[in-house]
């Protein structure tokens, strides 16, 4: 059964806090995947998603959701931006030598997915957060250029530039790696 989350959002806007659970339940799986793929880290993914849901709730309660976009698309954009912020913060944290904490909600994460996530994070480690997000949205999430540009709130031309930079950075990292092996 499909649920029109816009109707649920209208109830939340009128003060029905409990109705927000339906939005979380319906969107948490794809948004968790998105946050995990963007950040490459389950701890950051959890934090990003929690913060994104709280931001979404505040925006709904404050009447900041105009109802034009689907709730899923709207939250997708919030999670993408929150993930980019998390990547920037993580960079600052790692430069400061702070340790990372263990995930709190990882009961459903299989070892295979965990390994894949680590590989993804390693592959994208050298990329700037915005370039990394562009590549993940298009090449991992499978969004079209138009959809990815909308999620990143940029033009398709800007998105293309980010993709070119991201792919070049991956190539460069691979060459460096190969040179180190030789």
């Amino acid at each position: 059964m499909t649920v029109d989350l816009r109707l649920v959002a209208a109830r939340v806007a009128k003060g029905d806090v409990a109705a927000y659970r339906a939005i979380v339940e319906h969107t948490r799986a794809p948004l968790y995947r998105l946050a995990a793929r963007l950040t490459g880290n389950l701890v950051d993914a959890e934090d990003v998603l929690q913060d994104a849901y709280l931001s979404g709730f505040r925006a709904l309660s404050g009447g900041k959701y105009d109802g034009n976009a689907r709730i899923e698309t709207w939250l997708y954009r919030i999670v993408t931006n929150a993930s980019i912020d998390a990547l920037r913060k993580r960079k600052v944290r790692s430069e400061g030598g702070e340790p990372t904490s263990e995930p709190r909600f990882d009961g459903n994460v299989k070892a295979e997915a965990r390994v894949a996530l680590r590989e993804l994070d390693a592959m994208l480690a050298d990329l700037a957060p915005q370039d990394r997000a562009a590549l993940v949205l298009v090449s991992v999430e499978g969004l079209t250029a138009k959809e990815a540009a909308e999620a990143l709130e940029c033009t398709e031309g800007a998105l293309e530039q980010r993709l070119v930079r991201a792919r070049a950075a991956i190539r460069k990292a691979k060459s460096r790696e190969e040179a180190a092996h030789d």
């Binding site: 003060g15 995947r33 929690q50 709730f57 459903n108 996530l117």
Partner: protein, 140 residues
């Protein structure tokens, strides 16, 4: 004379081959051959292999992470957090009071009400005191 004969012979051959039509498969074969020829001339360019390999790797990683899902505890944690925030952000006040201007007008009205109520209470209190003073004076 010989030329004329040969011309006639060619004409006859032309006429007899007028109905010749290519097999349907020939079109495809010609097009495929042309496409193969054209792509043979394409320069793959440095890094194209890497790019294709990276795309394949990303696609595979997408598949391997497709089962990622938070546990049920996640939703509860979010809702608990919301319940902490909710009184401040919603529910306690009607929706229209949560917009900036309406909230200001409402706050001003409440403040004005409190001030006038305080004034009323004070005047009642003064009247009581004066009545008591009068009765004291009469008593004396």
């Amino acid at each position: 004379m010989t030329d004329k004969l040969e011309e006639k012979r060619l004409e006859q051959l032309g006429a007899s081959t007028d109905d010749l039509r290519p097999d349907d498969a020939l079109d495809d074969a010609v097009l495929l051959a042309a496409a193969a020829d054209a792509t043979r001339l394409l320069d793959a360019g440095p890094g194209l292999d890497d790019q294709v390999l990276a795309a394949v790797a990303l696609e595979s990683l997408a598949q391997r992470t497709s089962a990622l899902e938070p546990s049920g505890g996640f939703t509860d944690a979010v809702m608990r957090q919301l319940q902490i925030e909710a009184p401040a952000s919603s529910g306690a006040w009607p929706t229209f009071l949560r917009s900036g201007r309406a909230a200001l007008v409402a706050a001003a009205a409440v403040a004005a009400g409190l001030v006038s109520y305080a004034g009323y209470v004070e005047s009642m209190f003064d009247d009581d005191i004066m009545a008591n003073v009068d009765s004291v004076e009469v008593g004396e």
